[in-house]
Structure formats: C-alpha cells, structure tokens
Point group: C2
Amino acid sequence: MDWIPTLPIIDEAARRIAPHAHRTPVLGSATLNAMVDAEIFFKCENLQKVGAFKFRGACNAVFSLSDAEAANGVATHSSGNHAQALALAARLRGIPAYIVMPSNAPGIKKAAVEDYGAVIRFCEPTLQAREDTLDAVVAETGAAFVHPYNDERIIAGQATAARELIEDVPDLDIILAPVGGGGLLSGTALSAHYAGHDITVYAAEPEGADDAKRSLDAGKIIPSVNPDTIADGLLTSLGEKTFAIIREYVRDIVTVPDEETIRAMRFIWERMKIVVEPSAAVAPAAIMHGRLPVKGERIGVILSGGNVDLGRLPW
Amino acid sequence: MDWIPTLPIIDEAARRIAPHAHRTPVLGSATLNAMVDAEIFFKCENLQKVGAFKFRGACNAVFSLSDAEAANGVATHSSGNHAQALALAARLRGIPAYIVMPSNAPGIKKAAVEDYGAVIRFCEPTLQAREDTLDAVVAETGAAFVHPYNDERIIAGQATAARELIEDVPDLDIILAPVGGGGLLSGTALSAHYAGHDITVYAAEPEGADDAKRSLDAGKIIPSVNPDTIADGLLTSLGEKTFAIIREYVRDIVTVPDEETIRAMRFIWERMKIVVEPSAAVAPAAIMHGRLPVKGERIGVILSGGNVDLGRLPW
C-alpha cells in the first residue's frame, strides 16, 4: 500500500497548509481530569477555519494540485463541513469550487457554502443522483474531484491535527478521535504511528451509526445503512483507503449513545466555554462515561468541529 | 498615587499566578476582520479558570498574602465571577473562603461557589446588608477581605491579561475592554501604558449601565443606580482606585445597546465557536456596530468571561 501517506508526506502537508490553517489551541479542564482521574488534552479543531478539521484536508488537496490541474477548479459532494472547507480552500487559491448537495440540505448549510463563493449543484437526495450529478459537473467543468475522506491528500491533511497535538503535548498515552468516513481517524492513526513513541489510538462512534465498529470487527467494510444519531457528521461509511489504515493502526472503536453525547456536549460548552457540534462530543462522551480505560493516562482528544445551529440546541 | 501597580508589580503578579492560571489563547475571525476592515485579536479570558479573567486578580490577591495573613482565609461579597474566582484561588492555597451573597442569587451561582469549596453566607439583597454581613464574617473568622475590584492586588492581577496579549500580538494600536467596577479596565490600561509603544485604550459599557462613561465625562464617580442590561457582570459602580487609573489612562468609553451585545454574542458563538457571556460581548459589539474608529487598526479585545446559563439563551 505505497499510497499510504508517509511521515515526509504528512510533514509536507503541514507546511502546505500552514499559511492558511490555524494552529488550533489545546485546552483542558481540571474538573474533567478530576472526574475521570486522567489528563485530557483537547485539540480544538472546532476553532479551525470553517469550524472543523475538514479545512486541513481540503486545503492540502487544493494546494497540492498543479496549476494545470487546478485551473478548472475543484468539485465534491457534501452538504457538511467538507463542502465549506473545499469552498474556502478553493477561494484562497482563486479557483472555482462546485459542490453537489441534496436539494433537501438545510438552508444554513447552503448559505455557508455560498458565503465562501462556491457554486452549488442540487441533486435528488439519493446516492445515485449524487454520483450522477457529480460526474456531470466534472464532465462539464473539468474540475478536479476531491473526495471528502477516501483520498490520500485528505488523509495527510487531517493527519496534521494529531501531528500538532503530539508536538504540543509530549508523552501522550492515547489519542481518541471520532469516526465517520475515517479521514480524521486514519490521519490521526498515522501521526500517532509516526510519533516515535507508543501511542494507542482509539475511535468513538455513535451507537446509532456503528458501521465502523462493525467493519473493524468483521475485517471488511460494512456500509452505514439508515444511521440514526444526532452526530450528523458521522453518518457515512468508511472508504477503502481509510479502512486500510484504520485496520492497521487503530486499537478499537467504542460506541456511544446519543444521550451521553448530548451530556458531554453540554459539559464542554458549560465548563470549557467552547462550542462543539454533536459529532465532536462523541469522543469526549466515551471518556466521561467510562467507555474507555483511561485512568492515570494522558489522552489527546480531537474535537472535530463546532458547526451547530444555535437556534436548535438539543437541551 | 504610589499605590498604583508599577510594571515590576505587574510582572510579579504574572509570575505569581503563572502556576495556577491559564495563559489563554488569542483568537481571531477572518470574517469579522473583513466586516470591519481591521485586525481584531481576542484575548480569550472566557477560557480562563472559572471561566473569567477574575481568576487572575483573585489568584494574585490570595497568593500575595503572607502565611499569617492567609491563615484565617479570605472573604468577599459577590454573587458573580469574583466569588468563584476567590473560592478557587483559596482552595488552591488550602485556606477557607467566605462568600457573602444575596439570598436571591441564582441557584447556579450558589452551586458554582460551593463546588469550589467556599462557605456561603447569605444576606438580604441590599448594599447595607451585604456590608454588615461581610463585616460580621470578617470579625468572626479573621478572614482577609478581598474586594472584587477596588484593590491594587486585583488590578495588578487583571493587568496580566493585557500583558500577555501585548506579548503575543506585537504592534497593537488599540486595546478595548468592558467596564463594570473597573478592575479589568484599569489593569488593562496600566499594561498598555507600560507596553513601550503607543496603545490607545478604550472601554465599552452597556447603555443601560453607563455610569463609568458618565463618571469619566463628569470627572468624578457617578454611582450605578438601577442599571438595566443583560450584561450582568457590568452592573457595579467604579471604585476610587480603578477610577483614578481609568481617568489617567483610558481615552474614552463607548456605550452599547443590549440588542447589539446579543447580536455580537451570537456572532462569536456561531463564527468563533466560543462561549462568551453577555458582558464579554459588549466590547466586540462596539466594534461590530461601528461605535469605535477601528478601520485599518490592530485592535486587542479582552473577552472577559463565558459563564452563561445554557438553558436561558437570549435568542
């Protein structure tokens, strides 16, 4: 698997995105540490540009294109944070971005992407329509397709979050990340693997979208069918590339019921004074509710994003 | 006025609190910068221990007591962030804290102070009852009184926030802080004065509690009578000490209507992904709504705190 990002490739991604992305802070909570008898270090990707780690991968992908490849812009299918991330990265490079989005996507998500100057192409809310529309957009515009996660440039970009965390916090025992399509988790696992000392990587996943856990247990990708969770950033299935890395480098995946995620989300807002989206609270919830063996350990947790509709909070 | 904290005194406060307080991050928003055509640097004291800058002053006061002075603990009157801050600082030093609080204080505030291990003494919600109760507590326990703001140890402690901001962000043109009793503002003004280059200090105040603005204009302290604002951390009157510094070193105070404060608060939550309380949104609101001449300038803003009841948001 010679496509797997090497340490120099991740270093290069870090240099490439450095002029554009925030080096996000690492925050902690003495209250939480006392609660779980461990030291928790939160890597705040909710404070990243566009409010999510997704900007790292999108930025790395967009800026690694040659001028010729970039000339016709970039395209993707997403109604979530990847869409905004790709739109902003494209704007920073001065190229067009085409986003395929289901016609029933929330208005707030459409507006966010349009604010970054991207062109939206709506499709019916089915997988087939999404792929057909994307193919048509690419054929018509010549744009370069950037998959939300199953792409080594994306994986290398997402890996830079854990790379910074490991630089900032020495001697981590564990790193924990949420898993949806696996871009963040596979990148995190690679950076931990390259850290130069033993770091165990775990993932957390919503109980109502536990396809990654089942895939890891089964040794093959089990698609996400009718996921049901408040963590709307973690609905998708793993990709071949992300799964190959996760199988190799992730110790285990724990699942978390939504009520624990909501409680953790509120705790983080209330005590740490930062806004995290439900998908970002799944990993902290796994720690807070004793679903991982963390006692006495130093644990890094990637807080993946903070894009929430403040008019519709789950409490 | 030889009691005014000198630069060495503020440096000493910074060293004293360093083992206990967070060096809070400085965050920005590209969107906001584009909106106001300026560069804004937010010093995130909402991410400070107890969720507010108040921990700096309380920590400096508590740790500057001699062992003999500290032996009987500390006491104050406050139902707000100073109470929690003093309670935590006392716990860290291993001494008791006595907090005088009106009997009608919100349950959430009582619980927060008790969580930090302080002893609460309730009083009738009048100024007279508060002072009488405090006197009784001090007489009975021998505790050292630590005023919430009109105290040079508090002022020197609060000054460390702007000191860090100036260290982290070179060439600031302006620093903006909110003003209630004036502890944060006077400390901020001193650190700006000692910066070694010209920094203009402004303050922002709620329209419905504009006693500091009127005091500055009148050249004498005008007490805050029946203030009416959502910014519940900015209700108090200036003290003699804070006013003396503010008169000397603060250029002007601008007032902000609550609806602009609420809009700014929501913007900060939504775009910057951090939780700020209404009192912390008054200064950003002054910038966002054109109440200060900021175009082309580099402006530091102290985000004072993030203690909000998430069950009762103003939108």
